[in-house]
Each structure stands twice: as C-alpha cells, then as structure tokens.
C-alpha cells in the first residue's frame, strides 16, 4: 500500500481523474485550471520537492494519490463562518488533508482559532497553505480548488476527509530542524500575526527594536516547546513603526525563544529523516526552508511534496516538514 507522490503532466493527471482516482493536487493556477472535474482537491503553488530535488515548475502538477490507501472519502469546502466544523466532519480513525489559501482572511482565522476546534488532536489534520510564484506577490492570489465542482476559492478552505481500513491508522509527524536557543524567553500579550511589543524575560520591550539591537538573524524562527514538539513561528518582516510581522501567529500564554542556527540543512535533515519512507502517504515542506537552505536541485531524502507557504500539522507551523504515514494497528 503506497501512494504516489510526484510531478505529472496535465494529460497524465487528467487520465488519473478520468479513472476516478482520489487525489490531492498541487500546481500553478494555470495548470490546475486544465484539470477535469473529479475526485480531487487542489492548491496553488509552483514550488516542489520532486524525486530529482527541489524545483519550480509551472507546467506539471504534483499528485498525491490516496486511492489505494483509503476506504472512503468526502470533499468539503469551508468559509470563514463554518471552518470550525471541519474537525466534526472527519472520519473516526481516518485523516483529513486540508488546503487553505495563503494571505486570505480564512488563513488568518484558521491559524488563530484552530487550537480551540473540537477534538483537534484526535484525528490527524495535515495540509498546507497555498501560494504563488514569489515574483507574483501582490499581483496574483493563492487559491484552493474543490475538484468535484471545479471551483477555485481565494477565501475558502477545502478538505479531503478520508477514512481508513479498520486495521490501519494515520500518524502525522513533523521534521523540524530548529530547536529553542539558549537566549531570552519571549512572550506576547496578544495572539496575532504581528506584534509591536513583547515581553523579554518578563520585561516589556518593542519587539522590532529588540530584534535590531540584538542583531537577530530573522531567518531563524521563534520556537515554542509544545511538550517536546518544537513549533516554529517565522518572522516575515521587521519594521520599527509597524512592528514585527509573522508567517504564523504568536499566541499569548506561549513562551518562545529564538532558534539555534542550523548550519547545513540538507546534512541535518538527512540525519533525522525516517529510515522507512514506504509508509509515507504525503509530505510538504516550507518555502522558507527552500529559500534559506537553497533547496533548489537538492533532495530531502525520499520525501517529496509541495513547497508551501505554511504547513498544517493540526495547527499552522512554519519552516517545518510535515508528513503522514499509514500504520498497522
């Protein structure tokens, strides 16, 4: 039992759709528009980790084919009013694959509120934030697609809820090479995708000034320790007037530290990659890892998938690889 995870041509993908395969697709908007209606969900992105290495590709579609792994499925789209119901629609003992359009209201709502969704951690929710060619920022918008209807959304999320055979379960894991550094403890008084002020070891400070004065490398994320799981919040921009913007929200009541530097991403990654990838049904990695670690043309083991504008491992994370395996009970 193995899913296919690779870049394919539009005719190849349409052949899969025509044969009723159940798919999660990733591709540039122009190619997703050429895919026939069928049993698939899709998200826009032109960056991938393919079996030959990291690449940008606007002609092909990255295909994750669940058909031989799952026993049932349903595809649902959600707007900002009903997004929180997504956890109630999961199959017991299954998993959900969630796509959320980047820079949208629903992206921010999901990130800020997902922690309060019903029984969030009971059934795996994996997915990613969709994106665009970085050279088109401000000119185009990330989208998701409900393949059943062929509808493209800028401000709705789409999920493929899957059930599994009774003797199987899905396991969602992350590979995060960053860990908390030994520096100051940073907290925030409010949840948000930006912050003017923070508390550094309990003392209120202007966060932008703190970053500038301490010459902090903003390629290093803020890292929170969730009972051993290192959860990153990446820094998007630092502006002395507007404050510091993030790619995922900082949350009050959570303690953050600036990450320790990772000197060689590929070498470090290959040291922690799971030995057995046969059970992996899908993965994604962060556009910031792709950029900062110059992953173009380089491989991250055998794990392939879209390079995304945010990764979903129950909650929104940054600078993290997320993958899911199907295990025997």
């Amino acid at each position: 039992m193995k899913t296919h995870n690779k870049l394919m041509s539009v005719p190849e993908v349409n052949a899969l759709v025509a044969s009723n395969r159940i798919l999660a697709l990733a591709g540039n908007e122009n190619v997703l528009k050429q895919i026939s209606k069928g049993r698939w969900i899709g998200g826009t992105i032109p960056y991938f980790m393919n079996d030959s290495g990291g690449c940008m590709d606007k002609e092909r579609v990255f295909v994750t084919d669940f058909t031989d792994v799952i026993s049932d499925f349903k595809i649902c789209d959600y707007n900002t009013d009903d997004l929180s119901s997504l956890t109630n629609e999961r199959f017991n003992g299954g998993f959900s694959w969630l796509l959320v359009p980047g820079f949208s209201q629903i992206h921010y709502k999901f990130a800020l509120e997902v922690g309060s969704y019903n029984n969030l951690f009971e059934i795996p929710v994996m997915g990613w934030i969709t994106g665009i060619d970085l050279n088109e920022l401000g000119k185009n918008s990330p989208k998701v697609v409900n393949g059943l209807t062929g509808t493209f959304f800028e401000n709705s999320a789409v999920a493929l809820h899957a059930s599994l055979p009774n003797n199987k379960y899905a396991n969602l894991e992350i590979i995060n090479l960053f860990e908390q550094g030994n520096g100051d403890t940073i907290t925030f008084n409010e949840d948000g995708f930006s912050a003017r002020e923070c508390l550094v070891n309990g003392k209120t400070m202007n966060f932008a000034s703190y970053i500038t004065q301490n010459k902090i490398d903003t390629r290093l994320p803020l890292v929170a320790d969730y009972s051993g799981a290192m959860i990153n919040i990446s820094i998007q921009s630092v502006d002395q007037e507007k404050g510091v913007a993030f790619y995922a929200p900082v949350l009050k009541n959570i303690e953050y530290k600036i990450a320790k530097p990772v000197n060689n991403y590929i070498k470090a990654f290959n040291q922690v990659i799971p030995a057995e990838t046969e059970k992996v049904i899908g993965s994604c990695n962060c556009i910031l890892n792709y950029l900062y670690s110059e992953l173009e043309g380089k491989k991250t083991g055998d794990l392939t998938g879209p390079i995304t504008f945010g990764e979903i491992a129950y909650v929104l994370v940054n600078q993290t690889m997320v993958f899911m395996t199907i295990e025997d009970k």
Binding site: F121, P124, N171, E173, I174, Y226, S227, G228, K329
Partner: protein, 76 residues
C-alpha cells in the same frame, strides 16, 4: 494495555511534575493543550489526567513507545 487511571504518573505528567521526552506529535500537542488549560484554570489536574488517559486508551498502539517511557523505563 494502557496503565490504570489510578497510576500517579497520569497526574504527574499533566501537572508537569514529570517531563518525559515524548516522541508522538499528537500526544505532545494534546499534552501541551491540557497543560495550558490547567495553567489558565480551564480544567484541573485530575480532570486533565482522566482526559489524557482516555485519549491514550483510544490510541494504545500509536502511543505504546511513549507510554512505556512514561510508566516503565525512563523519566527525564
């Protein structure tokens, strides 16, 4: 077999008295959520321990390694 709810470790782990190095992401996230709820007084240690026990009981195979660490082998 998931250890009985009467075992002291259930309350010790949700209260942070013991901090075993867990490996399963969903268990880490669940535990963090329960510990945060205790800190914010949305729940108490006893109820959180019962919830964690129930959570693990439904996924015994998935958390086998972590449960062994908590109850049998290693406490960090």
């Amino acid at each position: 077999m998931v250890p009985e709810i009467s075992r002291r470790e259930w309350e010790d782990i949700v209260s942070g008295k013991i901090n075993p190095k867990l490996t399963s992401l969903s268990l880490q996230m669940k535990l963090n959520n329960l510990q945060l709820s205790i800190r914010l007084k949305k729940t108490d240690v006893k109820y959180a321990a019962i919830e964690l026990h129930s959570f693990c009981s439904e996924r015994e195979k998935m958390y086998e390694k972590d449960l062994n660490m908590i109850f049998n082998v290693e406490k960090v």
